[in-house]
Structures are given as structure tokens and as C-alpha cells.
């Protein structure tokens, strides 16, 4: 693949992907639709937060991209290659929710083993293993058997394993499980560096505050469907503009504020849904032109948790 092709080919391309578990294989149990008609494209150099309530299909979605399971319908490509193909696997690193290693192996042996499977040249394996173990702060435990590692240490080792061979796409399923606060900060630093180097990262996490610090792009999954995707779902940017008015100076209508949504209106003020702070002057300008006397303006942003709860409530209702 040429460099120009690399730039145009999306890192992840999902077209009408559906995944149904069960049916005949499960002895006639009711089939479960884990994902339904999911379509999205992800370009290079981004970090995307994958969020959704339990059972939303996050692990299924990551497993499909990683080629661990087959879609019932639809098409998945990783860097232009069909998921599960050797070429696609060459591009990706994957951290499962609960990583498991051979307990008898030391951390360094695990790294060497996976580096060999990843196709890292023989002469570079030792250096690469040591470099990545240092990056995840496991150098001093490099010769200790993995069987004695805590969950957080295993998680860090899994991250080091996933970083072998400089993958273009990193899939992280709950990567901060069991990490101590320093581990979380380290994880953030590593992921930010990777993004700067052009890698694409998809993180599924229940720790929404932690995602907020890493990315402004989210995929909200709910019952196997994408509810929102992309920067427009970015909660820190989207918000409610609360404007206080002197009563009786003008009548505010939806037409006046199009395309912004008029959420609440009263004699003394109104609330408008805006994309971000940059929309505030436009809204204020229109109100002033219509004769309104504005006494105060405040942008109420929603954090990711509020957005998550709101979206879940909307879907539930």
C-alpha cells in the first residue's frame, strides 16, 4: 500500500455490522443480537472512547475489529484489510479486559514470546522487550513469574505486549482495570504519545472521567447500536447556553434561533442548545438584533457522565 493510499484508507471501516450470538449453536436458546447494523469509519491519529452501559456490545465490537469473532452480517476492515486477516492483525495491538499469560513465564519471557509471534526481528526482540517493560514501569519485575503479578501489573504487561511492533491501531478493553493512580497517569501519557505518533486508539472504559482527559471523540453504544459517534458527541464542547433577559423586551421563537434548539423559555430568560462556546456570540447577536436586553450569559457544559446518563435515559424512554 502506497503512502497516499494509506492516508485515504480509514484505519477502521465497519459497514452494516451485525453480530448475533446463540441460536442453534446454543442448543436452541434465544439468539442475542449483540450488535445491530453498526457502520462507522475511523481515521488515523485519533483516540476514541467507546462507552455504553453493561451489555451494550462494547467487548463484542472490539472483538469483531480484532478478528476474534466473526460478524453475522456486514464488513469490517482494518487499515484496508479484512478483519482477522494476517495483514489486519499486523496493524493492531489488543489489550483484553482480563489479560491472561502463562503463569510460569517471567514478564520478559512473555514479552519475548509475544514479540516472536508478532514478527519482531530476532536481534531486536530483547531490546524491544526491555524498552516496553520500562515504558509500563515493569523493568524491576522483568524476571519475576507472571503468576505472582497483581491485576494492575498484568494490565500493564498486556499494554506492553500490545505495543510490540508499533501497531497502527490499538484496541483497549477496560485498560485501567486494577491500575493504581500512577498507573492510570502513565497509561494516559503512553496513549497521548501514541496518538502523536499517528496511532489510532479505541478505548472501552467505564471510567468516564478518565476518558474525558484523553479524548473528545466518543462512540456511545446502547443495546448494540451506535447512539452517537464523533466530535459532535463531545460533551465538553456541546452544552446549554443560559441567557438572562429583562422581561417584556422581545418574544423569543425557535425560528429566531435556528438551527440552535430552544430548550426552555420564560419571561426572564431562555436556554438554548449549542455546539460550543463559539456559538454564544451568534445566539446573543440574534437576540440583540431582535431587541432583547441581555443581563447575563452562561454556558453550561455537560461532562461525559451527564451525557452518558442523558443518552441512556433517552434510549430507555
Amino acid at each position: 500500500m502506497s503512502d497516499s493510499e494509506k492516508e485515504t484508507v480509514p484505519v477502521i471501516e465497519c459497514r452494516d455490522v451485525t453480530k448475533v450470538y446463540g441460536g442453534l449453536k446454543m442448543g436452541g436458546a434465544t439468539p442475542v443480537r449483540a450488535l445491530g447494523n453498526v457502520s462507522l469509519q475511523v481515521g488515523g491519529g485519533t483516540i476514541i472512547g467507546l462507552i455504553g452501559p453493561n451489555g451494550a456490545g462494547k467487548t463484542t465490537f472490539l472483538s469483531l475489529i480484532a478478528g476474534l469473532i466473526f460478524p453475522t452480517e456486514g464488513l469490517i476492515r482494518v487499515c484496508g484489510h479484512p478483519a482477522r486477516s494476517v495483514d489486519a492483525r499486523r496493524k493492531l495491538g489488543y489489550v483484553p479486559e482480563s489479560p491472561v499469560f502463562l503463569s510460569r513465564y517471567s514478564a520478559r519471557a512473555v514479552m519475548r514470546h509475544h514479540a516472536a509471534l508478532r514478527g519482531v526481528p530476532r536481534r531486536e526482540i530483547g531490546d524491544e522487550a526491555d524498552r516496553l517493560l520500562a515504558q509500563v514501569r515493569l523493568s524491576e519485575y522483568a524476571h519475576r513469574a507472571v503468576g505472582g503479578f497483581s491485576q494492575g501489573m498484568k494490565q500493564r504487561l498486556a499494554l506492553a505486549v500490545a505495543l510490540l511492533g508499533d501497531p497502527e491501531l490499538l484496541l483497549l478493553d477496560e485498560p485501567s482495570n486494577g491500575l493504581d493512580p500512577i498507573g492510570v497517569i502513565e497509561l494516559r501519557r503512553v496513549l497521548s504519545e501514541l496518538r502523536e505518533s499517528g496511532a489510532t486508539i479505541i478505548i472501552s472504559s467505564h471510567r468516564l472521567g478518565e476518558l474525558e482527559r484523553l479524548t473528545s471523540e466518543y462512540v456511545f453504544l446502547h443495546r448494540g447500536r451506535i447512539v452517537k459517534f464523533g466530535g459532535e458527541a463531545a460533551p465538553q464542547q456541546a452544552g446549554r447556553l443560559r441567557i438572562d433577559l429583562l422581561p417584556g423586551r422581545c418574544s423569543v421563537t425557535q425560528e429566531l434561533l435556528d438551527p440552535y434548539g430552544l430548550l426552555e423559555v420564560s419571561e426572564s430568560g431562555l436556554v438554548v442548545s449549542v455546539g460550543g462556546i463559539e456559538d454564544a456570540p451568534v445566539v446573543v447577536g440574534r437576540l440583540v438584533n431582535a431587541g432583547a436586553a441581555i443581563t447575563g450569559v452562561a454556558l453550561e457544559t455537560q461532562d461525559i457522565e451527564e451525557t452518558f446518563v442523558r443518552l441512556c435515559q433517552e434510549r430507555a424512554s
Partner: protein, 244 residues
């Protein structure tokens, strides 16, 4: 390097594997010291049964099933290696272990026979080759089974199935020695199951060179078929994680 990593892993993945090798050698040595009289014993035949048929079940227990059940497979299956390589390198690891074990066991038997003079080591070399061939067939069958059953159930299942088959065989040959069902059952066993009967003919010297090569070739072909089934199963296998 991937081949080397997967071959070595077959030996290091469990502490029990080294224990099995050592205890098998210990048993060979102890049998020579037993008070009963093994003078009539064909040590080659014993090697064939003990290391050729029983050892592969223990070495291959949970070879894929352990990884699938623990979830470790999710890390391995995202590496850029084809399912065929993944399967064959592991099979090769077990086959090499078998080759080394059988050679060492044959040498041990030969040495102990020289020291004690007990039993017979006639055609021990041929028995060793036949043992390795039957070892490979059992290993391939057990490895392929391990792709579809979790943990070490592949070995237990094969062990139980072999017991059932032997029971049926003894029942049929005792009560209906010339019955159609008996003949049919024997044919099915001979051509679909690991070629215990065909390969033992090599060790017993019942066949000439061409016949022996034919038997060995058939066993290798059967091993290849078992492997091919395992590769297909592995390619079609999904590796699900815990649900959200």
C-alpha cells in the same frame, strides 16, 4: 521465531509436562526391577503402548483448550500468524517432544536390558519408529479435539472413548467373532482411528518392507487428516470474551 516460540511453549506451558516425562522414564526403569518375570516381554511393544498411545494424551491435554478457557487465546489470536501455522507449530512441538522422549526411552530400555538381560529388545528400532508414528496420530487427534473442547477435556474424552472402544471390541470379538458387525467395527477402527494395529505389525515384523512403508504412510496420512480437521476448526473458531 514464531515457530520456535510456539514449539518451546508446548514444553514449558505446564509444570506437569516435565513431571510426565520424568515419571515415564522412572516407570521404564522400575519395571526392570519388579519382582515379577518380564522375561517374555517385548520391550518394544511396551514402549509402543506406554509412550506411543498414552503419553500423547498427557502431553497434549488442554493444548488449545486451556488457552481458550482462560482467555489467553485472545492475546495469541490477534498476532499475525495464520491458524495453520499456529496449529502446526504446536503439533510440531509435541511431535519433537515425542521423538526425543521415545529415542531416550528406547536407549534407556536397551541399556537396562543389557544390564539385566530381562525381556526381549527384538526390533526395538522398528518399534521406536512405529511408536513415534502412532504418537503423532494420537497427538494430532487430541490436539484437534482440544480446539473444540475446553481445558484438558480433550485427553479425558479420548481416554474414555478408547476405553469404550476396547470394551466394545472385546465384547464383539468374544460373542460374535465372525459377525458382520465385528468385521465392520474392526475395519472402521483400522482405517479411521490411530493406526495402532497397522503400526504394531511393523514392530512385530509381520510385514515386509513395502507393507511396512504402506502402513507407515497410511498412519502419516491419517495424522495429516486429523491435523487438517484441527486447522479448519481453529480457523472457524470464535474466541469470545466475557460479555459486557
Amino acid at each position: 521465531m514464531a515457530a520456535y516460540a510456539l514449539i518451546i511453549e508446548t514444553c514449558l506451558r505446564k509444570a506437569s509436562i516435565r513431571i510426565v516425562h520424568v515419571s515415564w522414564f522412572a516407570i521404564y526403569a522400575l519395571i526392570f526391577l519388579f519382582p515379577f518375570e518380564p522375561e517374555m516381554w517385548q520391550w518394544g511393544a511396551f514402549l509402543f503402548g506406554w509412550s506411543g498411545c498414552l503419553l500423547p494424551l498427557l502431553l497434549s491435554e488442554g493444548i488449545f483448550g486451556d488457552d481458550i478457557a482462560s482467555g489467553r487465546i485472545r492475546l495469541l489470536a490477534t498476532k499475525p500468524i495464520r491458524p495453520m501455522q499456529f496449529y502446526l507449530y504446536r503439533f510440531l512441538g509435541l511431535s519433537l517432544q515425542g521423538a526425543i522422549h521415545i529415542s531416550a526411552a528406547a536407549a534407556l530400555i536397551f541399556a537396562l536390558h543389557g544390564l539385566t538381560g530381562r525381556g526381549s529388545v527384538d526390533r526395538l528400532g522398528l518399534w521406536a519408529v512405529a511408536t513415534w508414528l502412532v504418537f503423532n496420530a494420537w497427538t494430532a487427534l487430541s490436539t484437534s479435539l482440544s480446539v473444540v473442547v475446553k481445558r484438558a477435556h480433550n485427553s479425558m474424552l479420548l481416554f474414555a472413548a478408547t476405553g469404550m472402544v476396547l470394551f466394545m471390541l472385546s465384547f464383539l470379538t468374544s460373542f460374535f467373532p465372525n459377525g458382520v458387525a465385528t468385521v465392520l467395527f474392526l475395519r472402521v477402527l483400522r482405517y479411521t482411528c490411530p493406526s495402532v494395529e497397522l503400526l504394531s505389525e511393523i514392530g512385530l515384523g509381520r510385514c515386509r518392507l513395502a507393507g511396512g512403508l504402506g502402513n507407515a504412510g497410511y498412519s502419516l496420512m491419517l495424522t495429516a487428516v486429523y491435523c487438517a480437521i484441527g486447522v479448519v476448526l481453529l480457523s472457524k473458531r470464535e474466541f469470545k470474551g466475557a460479555t459486557d
